[in-house]
Symmetry: C2
Subunit: 278 residues, 2 copies
């Protein structure tokens, strides 16, 4: 597992670094970024994995979320990755649609041609990337997972199906019930085919209804988000737990939209939430 450093910036007394490596899971070159707080010079620190939304790379969150000040204060590392496999030979859509193919891996393991060859983002995020991070950087085995939109869907699905690996989950504007949203239906049809069973493995609302573990979840959702009603459907998560006492906090934020300005406003509270549960 060889890492090639792409950039290195001092920030808030810590370090932001980008690396490339060949992913055996995705069978292509990948890039990720890591923020190491100053505390990591002294002892291993916990990690928040951030999963970005459609079209993003490892860079959007690190540059736009304004998260590093609080991460440095709390002593938390942050890892961000690309949103799909990339490079020559990796399948993409011919019409250039932003919601399928490159930049739109949906954090699942594809089973259908032509996607099956590289689109295995679930395994990459759950297994290969944390192994790499834990082998090369001063982090401990305390992990949390968070994300935005498609990445909020990824954080919920990966967190809920790996409760032993993550101490908490958070999300901004997640796709909560992809089986009933246009983005989710399009992606699942292409990547997974028609089998409903396979879809259910990647639907946060269904997973939440059936999980026994009680991993704490914090979700922020702007009520001025243009994707709220059609694509995001946070009410489906509340419905999934209406008959029991699950530690889910869903906050509807008045006047906020789907942008990184929304994320920046509340990211420090999300980091505080994860810090409390490490």
């Amino acid at each position: 597992m060889r890492l090639t450093q792409v950039s290195n910036n001092k920030v808030f007394d810590g370090l932001h670094q980008q690396y490339q490596h060949f992913s055996s899971t995705l069978d292509c070159q990948m890039q990720f970024a890591v923020f190491l707080p100053p505390q990591a010079e002294v002892k291993p620190v916990p990690v928040v994995y951030w999963l970005s939304g459609l079209t993003c790379s490892d860079e959007n969150f690190m540059q736009k979320a304004g998260a590093l000040r609080m991460a440095a204060k709390l002593g938390i590392a942050i890892v961000t990755m690309d949103t799909s496999p990339r490079g020559e030979g990796v399948a993409d859509v011919e019409d250039g649609a932003y919601d399928l193919g490159l930049g739109a891996g949906f954090y699942l393991n594809a089973t259908q041609a032509p996607w099956v060859a590289h689109y295995q983002m679930y395994d990459y995020v759950v297994k290969e990337l944390p192994e790499l991070i834990e082998a090369h950087f001063p982090v401990n085995d305390q992990r949390a997972i968070s994300g935005h939109s498609m990445g909020g869907h990824g954080a919920l699905v990966i967190g809920l199906t790996n409760c032993e690996r993550y101490s908490s989950i958070s999300a901004f504007s997640p796709i909560c019930h992809p089986m009933s949203s246009p983005w989710g239906q399009k992606a699942f049809t292409q990547y997974l085919g028609d089998g409903v069973k396979k879809w259910q493995q990647y639907d946060a609302s269904l997973l939440l209804a059936n999980t026994e573990a009680l991993i704490p979840i914090l979700i922020d959702q702007g009520d001025d988000d243009p994707f709220l009603d059609m694509e995001l459907k946070p009410e489906s998560l509340l419905k999934a737990i209406e008959t029991r006492d699950y530690p889910l906090i869903l906050r509807m934020q008045s006047g906020y939209d789907h942008s990184y300005y929304f994320i920046a406003t509340f990211i420090e509270e999300h980091l505080g939430f994860h810090a409390k549960h490490f």
Copy 2:
């Protein structure tokens, strides 16, 4: 002076908005952004004008600097603008160089063809834009000016030549002595021609040596900045005031580079500095 709103995002309980307007000074369509803190709903607030570096638009600072949390807390509006005139008919370099023409207006009034027609950024920033802001938004007449790199040069030059209009100046990694730097010499030769007198009007070190007003200045400069020795030369500012007691704070920041990660680390202190002087 008609403004067309391009975007509107709620952030930190305030608003980030982008507008386009026809600039009579630059004779072209221009875009700017404004952050209005929540306090602006109740009473007019002071404004920090931010001048960006080479290649930037109104967006870089708003998205990457992580400034809005503290601006919201302190009740300060922020205005960012483009770094040159833009659009059809606006002169540019043929070789696509990033340090002249589009995205590289150097905040001066060009006197040479082909630049003289539109490249009048000094007047735009000093006069037209503040007039527009003060006519359309809930701000008072307290102004500060700040910037990065080429924009740090702009902030120093505009602040020092308009001491009655700004209560304080700050800069990150400014071009402090453009008459002796490759970027500055290239830009001044093209925009101003060969006359040394005209160059002196836009050289912060010469202006500082000759100014009588004592407008407070805060500068942060990373010592791991690849442009430090050749282009930025902060020591020339210290030399300009070595024989007198000028309120200039120059902080060399160990290990920091020229990026927005550096700006993000210290921007809250710059806003606090400006707030103290409003």
